[in-house]
Amino acid sequence: MTIGNLNIITTDDNAGNEEDIPGLELFAQLVSELSSSTKTNDKLQSLTDYFAIAPDNDKVWVIAIFSGRRPRRTVSSRLMREWCAEITNYPSWLFDECYSTVGDLAETLALLLPETKKEERVNKSLSHYLKTFISVEKQDESVRKIFIIESWNEMNRDERFVFNKLITGSFRIGVSQKTIVNALAKTIELSPSVIAHRISGSWDPSTTSFNGLLSEAASLTDFSKPYPFYLAYALEEEPENLGDPHEWQVEWKWDGIRGQMIKRNNELFVWSRGEELMTDKFPEYYILKDLLPDGIVLDGEIIPAVDGKPLPFSVLQTRIGRKNIGKKQLVDAPISFFAYDLLECNFDDWRHKTLTERRKKLEEVILPIKIPAIKISEIINFTSWKELSEIRNKSREMNSEGVMLKRKISDYKVGRKRGDWWKWKIDPLTIDCVMIYAQKGSGRRSNLYTDYTFAVKDGDHLVAFTKAYSGLTDKEFAQVDNFVKRNSIEKFGPVRTVKPELVFEIAFEGIAASNRHKSGVALRFPRMNRWRHDKTVDEINTLDDLKQMLSVYGK
């Protein structure tokens, strides 16, 4: 069987000897190589090597897993802990202590379970374990318990780790879809953009074969498939360097969820940028199935809005996690789609056409539809970069994060590319505050205090108002970690109360009123902008300062 030649059709049936290949072991090795390498080229090499030798059925699962199609979690972490306790006889406080040090449940379990003897190790494929896992999903807890414990007993530590990661639904790995696509492109002779298109959309790894997934016929029959998104880089230099302003189309940068709206064969599909099919979450869009022409794909923003005016992102958050959308959500957080690009029209791929051509067609399609659920993303008119800069300063009033610059003659590219699309965001809001609690992080930050809670002053008191985990260098994190270990006042479970001494500038994108937080505010995208070595705790901002910001920016 030659993988590189798609004319040779391989079905599941003649891949019968797959059980002899140590599929899970190969996968565990892949995961450990991917997580220890820091260079994209090394990751690409590991994946390419893997795709060259792994069983076909496992490859399908790996593509699924790395593109976010994990099996739904069917075993709670509580049960896994209980079973581990039964086997090891460790008290639960000791488990907690270990968990807090390791920072990862799947790894803690893998380390605590007794090592499997060499002669008891069994080679099975990744797809075997996942298929069995799905088949016991609906069965009694005792059946699932037997399956999991027996599986543990066949595996070494690394295999248990990936297995636990998969069945607790916490599998995450630092590999971009682009790298997966490029590795596949080295294995099968197809262009990356064709592969990217084919592995997107809704497909089930347990019923899809490797060749079925990556064959021409398969993509023709799936009407739901979105195109890969084109993503912009942040503009870090002055816009003057971009040349003539007239060559650029500018729109607001909306603060919602990037999405693709597809109508094909009289069905409507809405995809998020994370390639999650979200059609059911937005009943507002259903009517568009009748109003949009068939064979059309739009790129735009899923955003809460009233009369075409966007509401803050926090409004969208109130309904995004819900399985069922009720009347209350539809009234309080009405959703619109701000369309800004057209990728397919009359079943033809329009991505190679210029933005100007696509925009013209987009207007022809959208403008006649006069309902709140869809709106065209307005073009900002400007004649000079200076004028645009002034307009951009009003972004917050528009509930927008800045502006998008798109070259008029550009085609619609795949993935994040420099040159034709830029996001020009406004500077974040900032506030100076003091760290009061710290907690250990997870992953590469395990056993290191990296998750902090910050407070502002309210008279003589300190009021916690946000957490932040990012923005410091590794060196700074190590310094703060050292401080936390030496300046802990109290310990509540994993949280340490620390001496309020280290002052940080927190940057954030937005502020909203919140009754779930003691401070009465919730921040959007808070992160540590700077460690203010020059400031003491007496010089930090106050709760009144925060409230002032809320009244100005938090509508």
Binding site: S35, S36, D104, R444, S446, D481
Partner: protein
């Protein structure tokens, strides 16, 4: 009841014998378990240590008033009978046994159970009270047999050779480096070393140890010689310009902390080998049981978890103690910037 050994702000103190064990402030009489810097401080008027530890102290602390003992060779401080017993941690590392009026206390220093062929085979010593380290006192720390880890290191070196990369092994210059060098000396003709490790290795060879010879990397060492070389350096060399010379290279860290993935990822190492000179969880428990001690004090490491477990499982009456040990294999965290009012517990 007066304890034979008490915990003072200068370190572990035996009042009846008027001596300290591994004190971290200058004292008159110090008994030193082993040569790591968090146990062997500068400035004492008198040092007692194992014969094999003396050259290490001389290298690190210079000339001092040293007295040495062999293992099991008794010496009296007033009415207190003191003897040293192998701790298996590094060359010369010893447990300190102190006996007075039939009551026996043992201070473990740092120890490991597995015999590395250099440090002497660890012997549990019967006692009433055992003061134990707990660097890796959580059940997530269970070491693989050293041969398995050595094989992994050798495979990694061979793989790097195939890919034309140098193998940069990071290991503490005293202890881990000698152990790793013994394990890999057959894999390659020449092993290159950072100056810190070269000095240590040379000193031990001069002291009569039959251990692997290494070649010091100097600014004059031609780059061509280093292509695909095997190099050993202390962890502090990581990320310095010294390493640039070996490009392209792959970094492998030999440390018990590598047991947890996050630690290896945080340090951006290409390979982590969980090779430790400390006892793992099972080793600590096994040792506490073997000493027959009814009471234990648990120092540096996961002291609260380990002592609580010993109490709950009625292995011994355990109490945790804070000391200033444990910076030697602790991950190297950065110091805070100066101008802050530092408060050190």
């Amino acid at each position: 009841m007066n304890n034979l050994i008490t915990f003072t702000e200068k370190g572990l103190y035996c009042e009846k014998g008027d001596f300290f064990i591994d004190p971290w402030k200058a004292v008159d009489k110090a008994i030193i378990t082993h040569g790591h810097s968090d146990h062997a401080y500068f400035g004492h008027k008198y040092y007692l240590c194992h014969t094999d530890t003396k050259p290490i102290l001389q290298l690190r602390l210079g000339e001092n008033n040293y007295q040495t003992l062999q293992w099991n060779e008794p010496i009296y401080f007033n009415s207190v009978k003191v003897s040293l017993h192998p701790a298996g941690h590094i060359i010369g590392s010893s447990q300190i046994r102190a006996e007075c009026n039939g009551e026996v206390w043992v201070v473990s220093g740092d120890y490991k159970i597995e015999d590395d062929g250099l440090s002497g085979k660890f012997e549990p010593v019967k006692c009433n009270t055992f003061i134990t380290e707990s660097t890796f006192g959580l059940p997530i720390y269970k070491w693989k047999p050293q041969q398995e880890i050595y094989d992994n290191i050798i495979n990694w070196i061979n793989k790097n050779k195939e890919n034309g990369k140098a193998s940069m092994l990071l290991a503490y210059s005293l202890g881990k480096a000698q152990r790793v060098l013994q394990a890999i000396k057959e894999t390659t003709q020449t092993i290159y070393a950072h100056g810190a490790i070269f000095n240590m290795q040379q000193m031990l060879i001069d002291a009569g140890w039959n251990i692997a010879r290494v070649v010091r990397v100097t600014p004059e060492t031609p780059k061509e010689l280093l292509r695909g070389a095997v190099v050993i350096a202390p962890p502090s060399a990581d990320g310095t310009t010294w390493m640039k010379k070996f490009t392209p290279y792959s970094v492998g860290v030999c440390s018990g902390w590598m047991q947890v993935r996050g630690n290896a990822r945080r340090r951006n190492v290409d390979a982590g080998f969980a090779l430790s000179d400390h006892a793992d969880w099972d080793g600590l428990l096994q040792t506490v049981r073997a000493t027959g001690a009814e009471r234990i004090y648990v120092t540096h490491g996961f002291q609260s978890a380990f002592s609580r477990y010993c109490n709950e499982k009625q292995i011994a009456i355990a109490e945790e103690v804070k000391t200033q040990y444990g910076n030697e294999e602790e991950e190297l965290t950065e110091e805070l910037p100066k101008n802050k009012n530092e408060t050190i517990i």
